[in-house]
Subunit: 193 residues, 2 copies
DNA sequence: ACCTGAACACCGTTCAAGT
DNA sequence: ACCTGAACACCGTTCAAGT
């Protein structure tokens, strides 16, 4: 709030004329940015869904603070609704039954959002995000590699696979997992399909 | 930090003798709490996996601040490793190929963590979390119900399904989606299976 | 050597006082 | 009626000074 106010050459109190709190400000900024998502192209639905979700992911990676905000307070602005609609539309185009597709939208966007939030340094010391990222990765790697084979036999046996793959490979795999699972798993709710 | 220090009848500076920062303190507390997860029982692996993940979810729902911390800084303490090991072991027991199971552990725990973080009020005004929860739900419901049928036709057509299901039903469905997808989706990495 | 009081550098939010 | 300076009530972290 204080930084935004400063950029607008006023005091932080002035912002409260337009937004109720920081969460609302974040939501408004995010919805504005969502207008910049690439338009739908041509090609198979699966590819277009990938492009759309990656576009959203890129946006959230660029502004990790917004990813954290979007996680606790779901975006409900006009552009966010259009994003939901596009994801839902693509799943339906792919032949996913409506009830599964409806719940699946939530899951896909939750994954993209939380993945972006996860790979983000905590807000304050935002000076060197990639150094922080490396520190986190090597802390995890060290913990897994020095795992006790007695206490955690499966981890010890499969360290290389636990740590394997590039971030891009893992994201691609995870999206495939989600879409496959969504298409294959009936909901408990009766309804059209 | 200040609250913890006060509970220990000292100043906040004293804590920095034992931890480097707030993130480390959170990680230590979480790992301590993870020791209280229920032991593995008997029955089909799928049920035991559900019980384990729900136990973790309950813990994170009880301390939403820890869920947010665990999201940005992965737990790597001894008890966290045991949790990874148990989840990995159960997937392997279920016949999931090792490479998929290894990546799947990450995804399952990310989902549980981010779901807990999502359903948590922002830290400061933690007075009435359920009121905040209701406000968020009705804001989402209102946004979806008043969706423009022109701009977002799929959303307009499937509002009831988008909003349908109890939280418990959605969690159960999502876990099924994840496990189904994990078991069915080959990784891009060559290796044992 | 180990601990800590006090200060530093921030936050978001409120409200009385201004125009 | 609309805007905002200044204050309030917090944070996490540092470091010089104490024991």
């Amino acid at each position: 709030m204080r930084r935004v106010a400063q950029a607008l050459d006023t005091g932080p109190a002035s912002l409260y004329v337009y937004v109720a709190n920081t969460a609302e400000l974040h939501a408004a900024v995010l919805d504005e940015l969502l207008a910049g998502l690439p338009e739908d192209g041509t090609g198979p639905w699966r590819t277009r869904l990938d492009v759309l979700l990656r576009g959203y992911a890129d946006l959230l990676f660029t502004y990790p603070g917004l990813a954290r905000s979007a996680l606790v307070l779901r975006p409900v602005g006009g552009n966010a609704l259009r994003l939901y609609d596009r994801v839902l539309g693509l799943l339906l185009e792919g032949g996913v039954p409506a009830d599964r597709a409806a719940w699946g939208v939530d899951l896909l966007l939750l994954y993209v959002t939380s993945n972006a939030a996860e790979h983000s340094a905590p807000a304050p010391g935002d000076i060197d995000a990639s150094a922080d990222e490396n520190a986190k990765t090597s802390a995890l790697e060290h913990a897994l590699r020095s795992a006790d084979a007695e206490a955690t036999p499966h981890v010890a046996l499969h360290v290389d696979q636990l740590l394997g793959g590039t971030p891009a490979e893992r994201v691609a795999w995870t999206l495939q997992v989600l879409i496959t699972g969504i298409a294959a798993t009936p909901t408990t709710v009766a309804g059209d399909s």
